[in-house]
């Protein structure tokens, strides 16, 4: 028992590592605040392009979505971070991370929004157009609000995934929470900082998981 406390819940190390981890946590929050909206907007764009009149555009979005869903996000990130310099493009870590997230999560959000848009019957759009609303107005005021409500669980679930994915930025030396924790671990030779990081992730994301459980159980079967 003593042994476990020493290695995972060492109070001395907690107090030492705390300032470093707090800075990392701040960086993680900034990262989430940047990549979640970027992914959402990108995904919405992809979904709307997927409804295009032009078959070529629809096909291109399907290829785009499947292509980036096939890549593990870490592979995408490393490709951008370690590969692009060979093409003479040297991006700072944070830009690499944002670019990788834009490509990856816009594909996933795009699929969610597409399912939402397709779940709204064509009658809704016809009714809106028959009252003189433009195509853009129809989408904004009639189709999207219903679409988003219909896929709310998937939207929340995807957002949770994106939030967790920010931990990948540690691999390209961006000093977010996990990176800071791993730094502290390698200096102290003790796993306590990683336990601390885990606790901070739990504090931040557990409420989202609970919310997800509630709305998921309500939605299955009624779809």
């Amino acid at each position: 028992m003593e042994f476990i406390l020493q290695n995972f819940f060492n109070w001395d190390i907690v107090t030492q590592a705390w300032p470093l981890l707090l800075r990392g946590f701040g960086m993680t929050l900034i990262l989430m605040a940047a990549v979640i909206p970027v992914g959402c907007i990108g995904g919405l764009t992809v979904a709307l392009l997927g409804q295009s009149r032009f078959r070529a555009v629809r096909w291109l979005t399907i290829i785009y979505v499947d292509f980036f869903r096939a890549f593990p996000p870490l592979v995408l990130l490393i490709f951008i971070y370690a590969g692009l310099p060979f093409a003479g493009i040297d991006l700072p870590a944070i830009v690499s991370v944002c670019l990788a997230f834009l490509l990856n999560s816009s594909a996933y959000y795009g699929e969610v929004f597409r399912a939402g848009i397709e779940s709204v019957g064509t009658g809704q759009a016809e009714a809106a157009r028959s009252t003189g609303l433009s195509g853009f107005q129809t989408t904004t005021y009639v189709v999207l609000p219903q679409a988003i409500r219909n896929v709310l669980p998937d939207l929340v679930s995807n957002t949770l995934e994106v939030a967790k994915l920010t931990s990948l930025a540690s691999v390209v030396a961006l000093p977010e929470l996990l990176y800071s924790a791993d730094m502290a671990r390698s200096v102290t030779f003790n796993a306590t900082p990683i336990v601390m990081a885990a606790v901070l992730y739990l504090v931040l994301l557990w409420p989202l998981v609970r919310l997800l459980s509630r709305i998921e159980h309500r939605s299955m079967g009624s779809r």
Binding site: P72, A197, L208
Partner: protein
Amino acid sequence: MNADITQWDRFLASFFDLAVMQKYLPDIVDGFLLTCHLAILIVISGLVLGLILAVIRAYEFWLTSWLIVVFADVMRALPPLVFILLLYFGLPGVGLNLSGYAATYVTLTLVLAAFSEEIFRAGILATPKGQWEAARSTGLGFGQSLAYVIMPQAIRMTVPPLTNRTIAIAKNTALGTVVGVGEILNQATTGQSFSGNASPLVLGALAYLILFIPVVVFGRWVETRFAWRRT
């Protein structure tokens, strides 16, 4: 004009150097096979464990239910990379040495078990109450009703969300590279740093596309094939 051509040559030389590719192809193939069998092991054990947990939870015994909820919540809320590092660097401190491969396998299996338990459970709850009543009214016990009447319907309902989740978690095998598992990404980055050339990365990316494009397309097919349809 001339400058453009040299630019293009440089690009080709950095990303598609055939000699480099040839040299590192065997490593990438090794990584490909490792990724495949790690992913398959994770998918099998994760889904089986998730199903077992969902069945235990269906009995609604408060202690087991509570434990399963906590387990599922924690595994869903934690980024998998955090858990991998925790197992890999933490356990040796208590005398348990886990290889990077084992740490990745255990983590992703538990993550898939947590997600699939929730999905199976949602399927069980979504099966109409009348199905339970009909089964029980013919004298089938709780376990028998669950096994023969409820689960076959619940599993069918859960195929699309389960497929997508399983694919996403299988792709996370790439995280193993951080703890030295020689899967595709690891071989590719090693090759890249040894050769000072991006061609091994391109090979690695191709390997992932070859592996996962069919899987993603299959997932798309499953989604339409099993679209909710009730009689």
